[in-house]
């Protein structure tokens, strides 16, 4: 398939892998920021093609994983109310809150539906004027424009039975939180390609300079990731700390300015709690006052809910690149995709779930072909 197969070409992959091995002289720790990249790395076994000295650690860029447990509880509280249709992206439904997940509310009779787009939720609001339709607006900068568009459209059409439960997070503040931590061990970043499709990569220049860290905007196919690692290692080996763009087929330096404009019109920057990490200043989006009527937290009176997280789950350490899923004593035993302790085990983009699915154990002679 065009635009897919050429980025999964085994011969090219070997070539990049060989070049990378040639330029690597020391140990380096590189973080891929986005959960989509983590998933691709583990699914395609990209890490098998890296030199032993290069270690990839998995970043906080999985929106499902970092959504704080209290937001899940708020969604559950809202979905349990009569007359509400709660819409969400599919993979949020299985994420455990403090008492259960949205699937269990559906089983108890709640009207919980998964949709592909917030505009589909808006369509449901038009169709069901006797119901309150709430969209669980989760995600990074990538999904923010579509959520902003849904709110704007609702305002234009004066749709009064639509609201969103906002849990938007922003990537650069999370990267800065990792870099400024005393325990940080990340020496280079593969920045999240699709976030940059929207936001561009100008906001990484000050980060690269301040922390002297190379940042390479990287795509999601195996060859994208290999090339991203190559560019990052090359900078590290040469002592450079620049922002480079591997994902040129999708990302422009200034991003999608119409989308950015829309985000600024509807949302304002706010401090946000990250699951497993805690509060990070200026790291989230909330609705502007002018659009406060579409805020589901206000509409359903759940704004004040506070919930503490499970102490056993080490997802916070994993999301900061400080631990590997296999280092967690609960991994694969007390914590599995069927009974997750934390969100990194739930979402298919979560590092723990990816390891569980593709790396529970190593097969013997797995690479041998049919004879």
């Amino acid at each position: 398939m065009k635009f897919i197969d050429e980025f999964r070409d085994p011969v090219l992959a070997r070539k990049v892998s060989e070049s990378l091995k040639k330029i690597t002289t020391r140990h380096w720790i590189i973080m891929e920021v986005c959960g989509g990249q983590t998933h691709a790395i583990v699914k395609f076994g990209v890490d098998e093609l890296l030199p032993d000295q290069v270690m990839l650690v998995h970043g906080p860029g999985c929106p499902v994983c970092v959504t704080p447990v209290e937001l899940i509880d708020k969604a559950i509280e809202i979905a349990s109310k009569p007359g509400v249709i709660l819409c969400s992206f599919g993979d949020m439904l299985r994420v455990p809150g403090s008492k259960g997940d949205l699937f269990s509310i559906k089983a108890q009779g709640g009207d919980v539906r998964f949709v592909y787009s917030p505009l589909d939720a808006l369509k449901l609001a038009r169709q069901h004027l006797d119901k309150e339709v709430v969209f669980f607006a989760v995600g990074f900068e990538t999904t923010a424009p579509a959520n902003a568009m849904a709110v704007k459209q609702a305002a234009v059409e004066k749709i009064q039975n639509f609201s969103i439960l906002v849990s938007h997070v922003l990537v650069p503040p999370a990267m800065e939180a990792i870099l400024s931590s005393k325990k940080n061990r990340v020496q280079g970043f593969l920045a999240a390609g699709h976030v940059c499709t929207i936001m561009g990569y100008e906001e990484y220049f000050p980060l690269a300079k301040k922390y002297h860290v190379p940042i390479v905007v990287t795509g999601f196919e195996p060859l994208d990731i290999l090339q991203g690692v190559y560019m990052c290692v090359k900078q590290l080996e040469e002592g450079r700390a620049e922002v480079e763009n591997q994902y040129t087929r999708a990302v422009a330096m200034r991003g999608n300015q119409a989308a950015q404009e829309l985000i600024r019109e509807i949302f304002t920057i706010t401090p946000r709690r990250w699951r497993g990490i805690g509060e990070i200043p200026k790291s989230g989006l909330a609705l502007q006052d002018a659009y406060a009527e579409f805020d589901a937290e206000m509409r359903f009176g759940v704004a004040e809910m506070v919930v503490e997280e499970s102490t056993e789950c080490i997802s916070g350490l994993i999301l900061q690149g400080l631990k590997n899923p296999r280092e967690c004593p609960a991994f694969g035993t007390r914590c599995t995709p069927e009974k997750p302790l934390g969100a990194t085990m739930v979402s298919s983009e979560g590092a723990c779930a990816a390891y569980y699915r593709y790396r529970q154990y190593e097969p013997e002679g797995a690479s041998s072909e049919p004879e």
């Binding site: 990074f140 995709p337 593709y358 690479s367």
Partner: protein, 355 residues
């Protein structure tokens, strides 16, 4: 057999035998045991399924099969929407049960049909479904010999649920995972993922534009050729819910063998691949309704492929993997970029990802 055009009723050379003016929709009385129910059975079901066993209208069908080894199976169908690109709940209910029988190495002979209808179901929809069942059964040369109809209150069903059970005669001793051996080749009958994506594209709230049709089909003819070819087929599995991955993992686990797959050898149509890429789904886990895998001895792989490829629905059959001694119960995949990983069961349905 693919009826893609949803606006146009399929096989509608027959008009509905229940006068629409009298009963445009199914009522509770159609399941009440009285005159309306008798009308429904005689005018609709008997005219569509017509055969000497059913026509007797006794409590059960009396079948003569002396000394035969039998396979017996049952399955229920709750697909939504009931009409989808490439098929409908009726043909699906026939194909599904036929396929379960043929996968055991049996020639399908007789089916039962249990209908649970929701009050208010348009009579024309019921007629389309019944007609579709009738054509699917005739095409596979099986007879619907007994049945049952119930009507539930509006809101208590999804239009129509169907249960079908089936009896088939084994060609020889039962086949299955117990016969799978190291060295066996694993052959897939064609591209995967079409049924799941076709259904997803028309499901309420998730609609997207697509021309992908379900692969729903009876596998009776191709399996008949395989089972009468003299090839020592070890095991077959149709790849329904959970897709190729789940089917192969189940066989690896029950046969306690390791199965190695090669991703590049697994055919996936470009439009299905595209839909999966957009939705964040893995085609290995997407449902099929007309695909199956065959485990055959290494020496018979070419002949098995030849026989399968003579059939239109299996013309893209391909060798996709091999059984190894290795770790029992494990399925590994050689990825497109030449690395390897394990293939594991999902904990539930695949869910579309956020971004």
């Amino acid at each position: 057999m693919n009826q893609n055009n949803l606006a146009e009723p399929l096989d509608f050379n027959l008009t509905c035998p229940i006068p629409i003016a009298d009963y445009p929709r199914v009522t509770l009385a159609h399941g009440g045991g009285g005159r309306l129910m008798r009308d429904l059975i005689q005018k609709m079901f008997l005219s569509a399924f017509n055969n000497p066993y059913l026509n007797q209208l006794t409590d059960g069908a009396s079948l003569a099969m002396t000394g035969a080894k039998l396979a017996f199976t049952t399955d229920s169908y709750v697909v939504r929407p009931i009409f989808f690109p490439g098929g409908d709940i009726g043909s699906l209910a026939i194909h599904g049960t036929i396929n379960d029988l043929v996968m055991c190495g049996a020639k399908p002979l007789y089916l039962s049909v249990g209908l649970i209808l929701e009050e208010g179901l348009p009579m024309t929809d019921l007629w389309r479904v019944i007609n579709s069942m009738s054509s699917a059964a005739k095409l596979a040369n099986v007879q619907i010999v007994t049945g049952d109809t119930k009507v539930v209150d509006q809101g208590k069903g999804d239009g129509i649920y169907i249960n079908t059970s089936g009896i088939g005669q084994l060609y020889k001793d039962p086949i299955g995972p117990h016969l799978v051996k190291p060295g066996d080749g694993l052959i897939l009958s064609g591209d995967i993922g079409r049924h799941g994506i076709a259904i997803m594209a028309v499901r309420e709230g998730l609609e997207f534009e697509s021309k992908i049709e379900s692969d729903s089909a009876s596998l009776a003819a191709v399996v008949d050729d395989l089972m009468t070819s003299g090839i020592e087929i070890h095991c077959m599995r149709d790849l329904t819910r959970g897709g190729l991955a789940s089917g192969v993992i189940e066989i690896a686990q029950s046969s306690k063998s390791q199965i190695n797959l090669v991703e590049d050898a697994i055919p996936v149509r470009e439009d299905v691949q595209g839909a999966c890429e957009i939705l964040g789904l893995d085609p290995l886990y997407v449902a099929n309704e007309g695909r199956f895998v065959v485990f055959a001895p290494k020496s018979e792989i070419d002949r098995t492929l030849d026989i399968m490829r003579r059939h239109e629905l299996a013309k893209e059959s391909a060798l996709i993997g091999q059984v190894r001694t290795g770790t029992g119960g494990l399925v590994s995949l050689k990825t497109k970029i030449g690395t390897s990983r394990i293939v594991d069961l999902l904990s539930g349905e695949q869910l579309p990802r956020i971004c």
